[in-house]
């Protein structure tokens, strides 16, 4: 059988590296093109020695060239830049799976508010499908442009949407405290991210106005069937390479029993290949999901305060970015959904 040809734009960052890790062993695809402005001309093994056995070389991004050699393009580019490539690639008939933030928000005004600039391709927002298979699998199947969720949003939406969609909790007053490894900041060379500044350090940041907040709110509101909601999202940076854990506190509707939560979780996710339900009282641990595409979810109904506490863990580079992108590609292209991901 002929292999599907894929390109990775912006392949020299951590999401790009993770895409390479997953796609180079995927039986159904061939990586035909990897781009990096900075590393153009270099063999992939110069930047990522663990791929030294691959003959791939970085090239400068060029739409015509990509269109000539790829059926699907992954955009692991900074937000803003991703938009510049999405439209011409789509016009050239290449399907686009975007890992950046450019097409996640349905409302260009919200994009402007959080990203401080006009959305570069507002027309595309309508055609983009939010690439969270557990909630949009059918739409992903027929998509041309997939906007993969952010890492924090994946870890929060998966557990919270299930109980919101089931009408078990109030939509107001949600608090999500998330802890992320440093690769979540990308392969960014900046003082706050050098080793001695991160190691033996625990710190929150952007506790108001984080760019992932509107995306989380959009999807939780959608799950609840309401136009909008407002919540508190509290991201923290912790000294691990990979992994995000989110603890989410919600206000149950009167009389909620934990069995209803269990039933809602099972209805939503029991058949999902990449969600692991830990059961009532279960607490997730990033250690159990790193280097996998799995999302662990546990839930606890606190008799003391009456609140519902959700706990979830993902690998921010896999289920939180590149693994989920590959899962979307598998759905889009008719591969078995877990192909290359186990």
């Amino acid at each position: 059988m002929e292999k599907m040809r894929v390109a990775i734009l912006g392949a020299s960052g951590y999401s790009g590296e993770e895409l390479l890790r997953l796609l180079l062993r995927h039986a159904g695809v061939e990586v035909t093109c990897i781009t990096s402005r900075q590393n153009a001309g270099e063999p992939v093994g110069r930047v990522f020695p663990r791929f030294a056995e691959s003959a791939l070389r970085f090239v400068a991004p060029d739409v015509a060239r990509i269109a000539a050699c790829a059926d699907v393009a992954f955009l692991a580019l900074p937000h803003g830049t991703a938009s510049e490539y999405a439209m011409p690639l789509l016009e050239a008939g290449v399907k686009v799976i975007d890992i950046s933030a450019d097409f996640r928000l349905r409302d260009a005004a919200v994009y402007k508010k959080y990203y401080k600039e006009e959305h570069p391709s507002p027309a595309l927002l309508k055609t983009a499908v939010y690439g969270l298979p557990e909630r949009y699998r059918a739409a992903i199947r027929g998509a041309r442009l997939i906007a993969c969720p952010g890492c924090y949003p994946t870890s929060i939406i998966l557990p919270a949407a299930a109980v919101l969609a089931a009408g078990l909790v109030e939509t107001g007053g949600i608090v999500a405290a998330s802890l992320s490894g440093v690769s979540g900041a990308g392969r960014k060379v900046d003082l706050p991210y050098i080793f001695p500044e991160c190691n033996e350090s625990v710190r929150p940041y952007a506790v108001t106005g984080h760019r992932h907040l509107p995306e989380i709110e959009q999807e939780l509101a959608a799950a609840a069937g309401i136009p909008a909601l407002a919540m508190n999202f509290l991201p923290h940076l912790v000294p691990v390479n990979r992994g995000i854990h989110s603890t989410i506190v919600l206000q149950p509707k009167a009389g909620l029993a934990v069995e209803q939560v269990t039933a809602a979780m099972q209805a939503a996710y029991a058949a999902e290949p990449f969600v692991r339900l830990l059961g009532p009282g279960g607490l997730a641990d990033t250690k159990h999901v790193t280097y996998t595409n799995m999302c662990e979810i546990g839930w606890t109904l606190d008799a003391h305060t009456g609140r519902l506490i959700l706990s979830s863990a993902i690998d921010n580079l896999t289920k939180g970015a590149s693994g989920q992108a590959v899962q979307c590609m598998n759905i889009l292209c008719g591969f078995e959904e877990g192909c290359g991901l186990r």
Copy 2:
């Protein structure tokens, strides 16, 4: 001037080590006795090579012996065990500064509920003073038995009590998400604490019923001037040696302006030697307080949800345990409050 003589019971754990670090360089005291059942007979440098220059040796704990050589005894013992020593030491005229959990709760019934056994010395609960200098300095001055706060409680009570005492926030619905380094579990040899199980792992635990919860609730209720409150305390274990960060979400009373929070914080702590106010928008970082007795506090009023977000950081072994105990000793014994702590 004659030095005050101090004993440390249970000196072979991390709190004991930190007490030694602080007291061996304290100009006003002489450490005359360190106890450890397990290490009795060994020179302190065998267990803690960084104190190899000290001539101290561990001895088995013996009340008569301690009473003969110490004016003040620090109890760095497990809960339950601390009680066994407190009463006879007090009767022998030794002042007691307890780092364990035995005398923090004013209500023996609450102790039983959370510690699953009868309180061993309920009579002493009335005489014990809660050793949080920023809130109980006057009482500490005249105390005979000081119950030093837990590490998590210190990090949560300091920021939250200020706004509760000022009547700026509701007492219901408080959520505190805390992140602790592994030394917070003590020098415990158990599978969950070996390096490969903690490193590259982020995980919550005891999200309901943690033993520090009633202590936090007791003190926050006291600050608010109400008999009791119920809140969510969400502890997480993260791979650092030292440090606790707490992010606390509270519901402001109607019309609260951030300037009122700033004023309340300054009124409470501007003159405190071991509280660092980061101002509105400030976010604490454990890296800035490790190996110090300082508590960093920042506050943010979230225009989006209307919630007040507090951020605090301490070193769990210093301000969260042994440093605070030394601060209490300084107050109790008339030393300058920061002696040995800078």
Copy 3:
């Protein structure tokens, strides 16, 4: 095609976990039995949540039961214990791949000297094949009992044997300084291995008499074609989960040119699927090999002192233990050598 049936004895340690990670995705085998005295009866997901999707349960080790359900048995048991199972399993017709130290040394007297007890099955020492494919591939093909190399030995023998076998260096005066992650100590619950004792700590240990020393010397002497040699092996513990790096200093024979080293390395390893040659001046980094079965090797001829410096990195749990064991199984059973390892 019918799958080969494999058993893992001692599956609840880190080597066992790594064997599970590799074998559960190996297309040619079925894991039919995993043993653990301590966890007998529990589903594998209780101990290792990342395998929660597997239906396997731990059972107590029982030779008859294993012989009934397995063609090949991996022994991830402590030394001494492995021997007890090897003989009856072999007699029952099960091929044995041992990850312990029991069959690595050809001389029972050396075993006694380093392990402080009589070798439990000296007769088997003659039939055991040393499971280092790059040096013993032909013998592995026909083996019944394979003794997989230790982690340190793998990282030192691979680079050093190539230059010794080529006669490029002296056999005296070799110094190997190795740095190992903490998983190298196994899933051992002991004070030196708890997180706060390892994190922010760098320390050598067993700089004389380490149990891996005689194994390294045996194989380097064999490569050099001499009966024995004596060298210095300097292991250090560093705070990472996985990975070993070895830096090895050797005395070249007169007139050695770096090109000769390069030629010897290429002759030995250019065709090897799991050796990556970094070329002259190359320095290995554990980061590039973790979670892979690869060994990175670089070499530098120091003009200043005339010494040859080799640098190598492996993942101690993969190429240093379980990955190499699977590679041996692939050779032994006629699978493609990299099956399950890419």
Copy 4:
């Protein structure tokens, strides 16, 4: 008593931060000036929140200004830049304690070979005293310009010089394998030093031609009483913030007994306040010396190979840089040698 006035040039790096930590609590000195081109005008607490209680502000470096307010100047500047300030400060009568590499080598030609540029002030090389108190205390007392040793050199010279000076070992064939925390690279914002590139990574670098090599060789030759020697220095980067461990292998002269090594170590260091002798068989651990000015030293005579193995640990920022500089200042200025360092 009037306090001595000190300035710190280049105070915004990690060595500068450590100087501040030590000098702000030093009873005999007042820090009157801290310079940083990049942070000029900012209060010290903006860059280092742990010093927020200090009123110091960074200023741009200006010799006249420094000369007007300081008796002693610490140069925590990059090599090359330090020289530019040393001469005019000395001419203005300010004593200079340099932490950079500019005045450590006695031979300008060696400087040029390793630093790839002409030495900027070769005349000063003759007047500079090498700031290793354990070997040059008398000269430090009368110095005007002190060149503090590098971090690696301190960890290697202290143990090795003692046995070389006593004539116990050969001067050829020395191998030193050193492991350093990441703060050793300074507060450098560069890709190899961001957290995800260092964490879970162990790697050697500069195994030939490291800039600390000639300094180590110079001092070991001096200790041995010979003009020069050549050795192998093998630095490795490991994921800790602070600490260096060095393992050094030397060839004993015929018939050496370990008691002679013990005697030489005791003769050299028993009276030293900042050397801790671990005795024969002792192995150092960075964990025992971090945040202290101590150097731990152990020694082992390997009966198997006949080699002598030394093990040493320091905190690279304290005994390896700023602590040693303060120790030198104490000697130079007549303070008790451990003032501010305990």
